[in-house]
Amino acid sequence: MLQMKTHYPDATRVEPVNRHTLAIVVDNEPGVLARIAGLFSGRGYNIESLTVTETQHEAHISRITIVTTGTHSIIQQIKSQLERLVPVHRVVDLTLTGEAVERELCLVKVVGKGDHRVEAMRLASAFGARTLDATLTSFVYEMTGTTDEVERFIKLMTAVGLVEVSRTGVAAMARGAEGIM
C-alpha cells in the first residue's frame, strides 16, 4: 500500500536534458561570483564548467562563462534567475545563438622514461600541444581545444605517465559579426 508522505505535490514532468553554454556579463563587484555560484547550488542547478575574469577594466565588467545542463524549462529558469541578480547585465545562451566557438586550455604534466616519453611527445604533437617545460623525466604540455579534445588528450596522456592536470574551463563566443558587451 502506498503511503502519503508529504504535503507537497509530486514532480510530474519529464523532459530531455541538454548541455548549454551561457555567457554572463556582470559588474565585477565583490561577491558577484558567490552570488552566481550560490544561485546554482541553492536552486539545484548543475555547473559543469565556470570561467571568469574581468574583461573590461575601466567599466569593471567581467564575463562569466558557465556550461550547465538541464531541461529546456530549467535552462530558461537559470537564465531568468541569473537576470534577476542585480549586478548581472546580460545573459546570452550561446548554445541557442547558433554554434558558438568553445575552447578550453589545459596544462598536463607527464613523467616517464623510454617508450612512454617518446609516445607522450608523439601524442602532444598530434594534438598540437606546446611544450612549456621539460626535464629529463618530465614534460609540461599546454593544449587548447574543445572540451572533448581536451578530455581525449588527457585520457591518452594518462596511459603514458600523466601525473597532474590543470584546466581553465570553457571560454566561448558566438560566431559571426555581432558582439556581446
Binding site: 500500500m1 502506498l2 502519503m4 509530486d10 552570488r35 530558461q76 529558469q77 534577476r84 542585480v86
Partner: protein, 590 residues
C-alpha cells in the same frame, strides 16, 4: 551641494532624504555611532522592538500597510542573524525593505572578531541584493541605491552591511541626483503585441477567469483601481491568492473568494474548468496549483508578472507579459475599450450560471454551536463588528490564518498582511505594530493562534511603549491546529507534539505587559466582548477559546486536482479521520 559628515550621519541623512519616518531597530556595539546620529535629530523616528526578527516583521507590516519601504536597523552578529527569518519572509512575499546592519571594523573582518558574522554571505540568499560598504566614498550611493533596488522591479529586502570604522569616517555626502542603479532596470511596460494578443484571447473566451495575486498589491493602489475597471468591463469572474486579497473588493458579485488549497469551491472549480486564465501578479505557487499535471487542464493562459523568472517556472503559459501590473492593466483597459471588446454574452452567461451553481454549494458553511465558539464564527463576528472601520488585519500562521482569509472580507488593498510564502509563525504581532504606526488612528487586528503568538509575544512591550492600540485576537484551540490537521491527514491522527501544553494565562499576560486582557468562551458573549475590545484604546490580547477539533475546509489535499476538493460536510462531523477519505494513489501524491 555636498556636505562633510560621518558615515553614521550619512545613514540618517539618507533616510531623511528618502522620506523615511520610522526605523525599526535594536541597538548594539556595531551600530552605536548610528544610534548617536539618530539621537541628534527628530525627523526619523526610531521604534525600539524587543527582538530583531520583530523589527523586520514590523517593517514588513509597515511597508504593506503604507505602500512605502520598511526600514530596519540592527547590530552585527546576533542582531543580524536574528533578522534573518524576517528577511527571508520579506524575500518570499516580495516586500520592499532596507535593512542596515552594523559590522565589525573593516580591518577586523574575517578575524572572528567579537560579534562578527558574514552578514552579506548569510543574507545573500534571503535578500534581493546586499552590500558590504568598505569605503566612505561609496556610502551615499549605496544607501540610495538600496532604496531603489528594494522598491523597483519585483520588490524585496536589501541589506546594507556597514563596518563600524566607516560609520566614524568623515566623507562627502550629497543626495545623488538619481538613486537608480547604474544598470538594474526592470521592465515595467509590457510588450504591446503580447498585450494585444491577450486582449484578443480574452475577447474570444467562453469560460474566462482572472487569477490575481500579490503583484497587484505590490504595484500600488492604482493597479487595484485598474484591475477593478478591467474586471467590471469584461464581466469576468475573479479570484485571488492569499497575498492578493483586497485588490478586488470581496463584497462584489464577480468575486469568487480566494483560490488554492483552502480556497473556495467556486474559485477552484472556475480555475479547473476555465478556457482562458488571466494571471495578474501571481506566481503559480504550489498551494494554488496542487498536482501540476491536473492543473487547469482546458485553459489558455495569460501571465502578467514583473519578474521573468516567475513566468513558466512551474506552469507553462501561452501569453507571457513581463511588466508592472499597473502599466499592463492600463494598456489592457485601454485596448479593451478601444476595440469595444466583449466576450460572447451567451457563453459568458452560461459560464456564470455554472459558477452560481458552484457558489450555491456554499462551501464556507459550517455547523455552528451554542456551546463552543467555532473559530469560523469568531472571525465572522469579528468581521461584521469591525468592517465599518476598515481595519488592518495581520495574521500569524496556521488554521486561524486560513479562517481569517476565508471569513474576513477585504474591500481595499493594503489592509491585509500575512506571511504567505515563508509561512512564519510570529509574523502577525510585530506586523500589527508596523501597520499601526503607518495608520495611528486605524483599527489594527492580529488574528492569531495560541502557538504562533508565543513566538513574537515580546513585541507587546513595543506596542505598549509607543501607545499602539493593536488588538491581538487569539483563536485559542489549544493545538497547533494546522499541524494537527496534517497529522490527521498524513499520520493517522497521531498528534505528535502538536498539543499546546502549559499555555500561559493570556489575560494575565496582557495585564503583565500593561495591556488589556479579555477572555471569551461563550458564543453568546462574543459580540459584547469583541465590542469591548475595539472600544479600548490600548493594546488588547483577546483570548477566544474555540472548538479544539475544528478543521480548515474547503481543502484540496495535495496530489488532488482542483475539482477534487474536500468540503466541510464531507465527514459529517469534524474530528474524524480525514486521512481515510483520500484514496491510496492520492496519498502518495500529497
Amino acid at each position: 551641494m555636498s556636505e562633510t559628515m560621518t558615515g553614521a550621519e550619512m545613514v540618517i541623512r539618507a533616510l531623511q532624504d528618502q522620506g523615511v519616518e520610522h526605523v525599526f531597530g535594536y541597538p548594539g556595539g556595531a551600530v552605536l555611532p548610528i544610534y548617536d546620529a539618530l539621537f541628534h535629530q527628530e525627523k526619523v523616528r526610531h521604534v525600539l522592538v524587543r527582538h530583531e526578527q520583530g523589527a523586520v516583521h514590523a517593517a514588513e507590516g509597515y511597508a504593506r500597510a503604507s505602500g512605502k519601504p520598511g526600514v530596519v536597523l540592527v547590530t552585527s552578529g546576533p542582531g543580524a542573524t536574528n533578522a534573518i527569518t524576517g528577511l527571508a519572509d520579506a524575500m518570499m512575499d516580495s516586500i520592499p525593505l532596507v535593512c542596515i546592519t552594523g559590522q565589525v571594523p573593516t580591518h577586523l573582518i574575517g578575524s572572528d572578531a567579537f560579534q562578527e558574522c558574514d552578514t552579506v554571505g548569510i543574507t545573500r540568499h534571503c535578500t534581493k541584493h546586499n552590500y558590504l560598504v568598505k569605503s566612505i566614498e561609496d556610502l551615499p550611493r549605496v544607501l540610495h541605491e538600496a532604496f531603489y533596488v528594494a522598491q523597483n522591479g519585483r520588490p524585496g529586502p536589501v541589506v546594507v552591511d556597514l563596518p563600524k570604522d566607516i560609520q566614524f569616517k568623515a566623507g562627502q555626502y550629497a543626495r545623488p541626483l538619481s538613486n537608480q542603479h547604474k544598470t538594474y532596470r526592470p521592465t515595467v511596460k509590457g510588450d504591446m503585441d503580447h498585450i494585444r494578443a491577450a486582449i484578443e484571447l480574452m475577447a474570444n473566451a467562453k469560460r474566462p477567469v482572472f487569477y490575481t495575486g500579490g503583484g497587484v498589491i505590490n504595484s500600488g493602489t492604482q493597479a487595484s483601481a485598474l484591475l477593478r475597471e478591467l474586471v467590471q468591463l469584461t464581466g469576468f469572474p475573479i479570484t485571488s491568492t492569499l497575498m492578493g486579497l483586497g485588490a478586488y473588493p470581496a463584497s462584489d458579485r464577480q468575486w469568487l473568494g480566494m483560490l488554492g488549497m483552502h480556497g473556495t469551491y467556486e474559485a477552484n472549480l472556475a480555475m479547473h474548468e476555465c478556457d482562458v486564465m488571466i494571471n495578474i501578479g501571481a506566481r503559480f505557487d504550489d498551494r494554488i496549483t496542487g498536482r501540476l499535471d491536473a492543473f487547469s487542464p482546458f485553459s489558455k493562459r495569460i501571465h502578467v508578472d514583473i519578474d521573468p523568472s516567475s513566468i513558466n517556472k512551474t506552469v507553462k503559459v501561452d501569453i507571457p507579459i513581463v511588466g508592472d501590473c499597473a502599466h499592463v492593466l492600463e494598456d489592457m483597459v485601454r485596448l479593451w475599450r478601444q476595440g469595444a471588446k466583449q466576450a460572447d454574452k451567451g457563453e459568458l452567461q452560461e459560464w456564470w450560471n455554472k459558477i452560481e451553481g458552484w457558489r450555491a454549494r456554499n462551501c464556507l458553511a459550517y455547523k455552528n454551536s451554542k456551546e463552543t465558539i467555532k473559530p469560523q464564527y469568531a472571525v465572522q463576528r469579528l468581521y461584521e463588528l469591525t468592517k465599518d472601520r476598515a481595519p488592518y488585519v495581520t495574521t500569524e500562521v496556521g488554521q486561524h490564518q486560513m479562517w481569517a482569509a476565508q471569513y474576513f472580507r477585504f474591500d481595499e488593498p493594503n489592509h491585509w498582511m500575512t506571511s504567505g510564502g515563508h509561512g512564519t509563525m510570529g509574523y502577525g504581532l510585530p506586523a500589527a505594530v508596523g501597520a499601526q504606526l503607518a495608520h495611528p488612528d486605524a483599527l489594527v487586528i492580529d488574528i492569531a493562534g495560541e502557538a504562533s503568538i508565543q513566538m513574537m509575544l515580546q513585541e507587546m512591550s513595543t506596542a505598549l511603549q509607543y501607545n499602539l492600540p493593536i488588538k491581538v485576537f487569539i483563536l485559542n484551540n489549544e493545538y497547533m491546529g494546522m499541524v494537527r490537521q496534517w497529522q490527521e491527514l498524513l499520520h493517522g491522527g497521531r498528534y505528535s507534539q502538536s498539543y499546546s501544553e502549559s499555555l500561559p494565562d493570556f489575560v494575565k499576560l496582557a495585564e503583565a505587559y500593561g495591556g488589556v486582557g479579555i477572555r471569551c468562551d461563550n458564543p453568546a458573549e462574543l459580540d459584547a466582548k469583541i465590542m469591548e475590545m475595539i472600544n479600548v484604546n490600548r493594546p488588547v490580547i483577546f483570548d477566544c477559546i474555540v472548538d479544539k477539533t475544528e478543521n480548515c475546509f474547503p481543502m484540496i489535499p495535495s496530489g488532488k486536482a482542483h475539482n477534487e476538493m474536500l468540503l466541510n460536510d464531507y465527514l459529517g462531523e469534524t474530528g474524524t479521520d480525514i486521512g481515510s477519505v483520500i484514496d491510496e494513489k492520492g496519498k502518495m501524491l500529497v
